[in-house]
């Protein structure tokens, strides 16, 4: 168990980019909350929800691609000494999902507090957000998962170690 902690230590270290992604996901979740809670047209709401979904997916994708790029030497070494490459992909995916969930949770809490302070009916938004949140976390996670699979499958260890 302690040795698995070493792998987590290696790959879960947050970077400045990760912090910015978490903040952006929080902000997008707050916007989503107000899009759902306010009386706006059906089409405008749909467009905004899709936009937010795409934006969060792009942030998640960027996070996973950057994780691979920044850690490619470590990944190459670990594959060379015998770690299964998809396990590393899994760890990076898990890291991305955890940070996405943190950003989303922070955004939810802040949106709820802002709504409460502004007198917006939170009960309707809470139910709808809970439903949409499944799509909001699982959707980008699937995008990240596919990206992980592509990156780990195409990973060229000798080329990375040569650099």
């Amino acid at each position: 168990m302690a040795s698995y902690a070493l792998l987590l230590k290696l790959f879960s270290k947050p970077e400045y980019r990760t912090f910015l992604s978490v903040v952006m996901i929080s902000v997008l979740t707050i916007i989503l909350w107000f899009v759902i809670a306010n009386e706006i047209g059906h089409y405008v709401r749909s467009i905004m929800m899709v936009t937010i979904f795409v934006a969060i997916s792009a942030l998640v994708l960027n996070e996973i691609v950057a994780s691979f790029a920044n850690r490619k030497r470590d990944i190459a070494i670990l594959i060379a000494v015998g770690i299964w490459k998809h396990l590393i992909g899994g760890i990076l995916l898990l890291k991305t999902i955890v940070y996405t969930s943190i950003g989303w949770t922070l955004g939810m809490i802040m949106a709820y507090l802002l709504g409460w302070l502004g007198g917006i009916s939170n009960s309707i938004a809470l139910q709808q957000i809970a439903l949409f949140s499944v799509v909001l976390v699982l959707g980008p996670a699937m995008v990240a998962g596919i990206s992980c699979l592509l990156h780990t499958s195409r990973f060229n260890v000798p080329e990375v170690l040569r650099q």
Binding site: L10, I77, I79, G82, I83, K85, V157
Partner: protein, 231 residues
């Protein structure tokens, strides 16, 4: 006959590896053949660019030949799945990379621990073995140091200790004396010579240094590659 086969640790037949770069194709090995027996200490020599590191990568299953077969511990690498190759490396092959291959975010001891964990040998015996290795290589006082704070010679020794930490059947050392000052070479060569006697498993080492090649009991020389222009 069966006994003869089982004694062969690495077998290379009709090996070719081609690389395309720009308007030319580099053809390495040109049908190289050799067998390495269990317990052999082999030096692979040849000038720069002959493909020594590529050969190490091919034996470790990290790269694929353009033509030819490589058998390691009786297993033909081209027939193994990605997962089987990974398992073979974890359980039976130890590698020292030319650039040491140490994870800079972990200290020296953690580098050994994580390798043992990958091969499933991170039990109490593994812990004791890693302490013994650090002592053997004179690194017990540097166990908590980051690899980036080690000298080149110390990093090489840490890399060898890491490669040995899983008790592999085949130890691949890529330029263990490369980039070392003469004093560090003088320190490392007796250690490599000692490894041959103490470790007793198959050791394959690439080197450009004639002194290093002499400590091996066999030498395989790689000829210069052919460079063919592409029309």
């Amino acid at each position: 006959m069966i006994n003869d086969c089982t004694k062969i640790t690495v077998s290379v037949r009709d090996l070719h590896k081609h690389f395309e770069s720009g308007h030319s194709e580099t053809r390495l090995f040109n049908g190289l053949n050799f067998d390495i027996n269990e317990g052999d200490f082999v030096a692979i020599t040849g000038s720069s660019g002959t493909g020594k590191t590529t050969l190490m990568n091919l034996i470790a299953g990290l790269d694929k030949p353009t033509k030819g077969t490589i058998r390691v511990l009786g297993k033909e690498l081209s027939l193994l799945s990605d997962r089987e190759l990974t398992a073979l490396r974890a359980e039976s092959i130890g590698i020292l990379f030319q650039t040491f291959g140490l994870l800079t975010d972990l200290n020296v001891k953690e580098n050994i621990k994580v390798t043992q964990m990958i091969s499933g040998k991170n039990n109490l015996n593994g812990e004791r073995y890693s302490d013994e290795l650090l002592e053997f290589f004179g690194l017990n006082n540097k166990a908590d140091f980051s690899p980036s704070s080690l000298s080149v010679g110390e990093a090489k020794k840490a890399g060898i200790a890491r490669a040995l930490s899983t008790g592999p059947q085949v130890l691949l050392l890529d330029e263990p004396t490369g980039n070392l000052d003469p004093q560090s070479v003088n320190v490392l060569l007796p250690i490599l010579r000692g490894l041959r006697h103490i470790y007793g498993k198959t050791i394959i080492m690439t080197t450009n240094t004639p002194r290093a090649a002499k400590i091996a009991n066999r030498e395989i020389h790689i000829e210069k590659p052919k460079i063919i222009p592409i029309m």
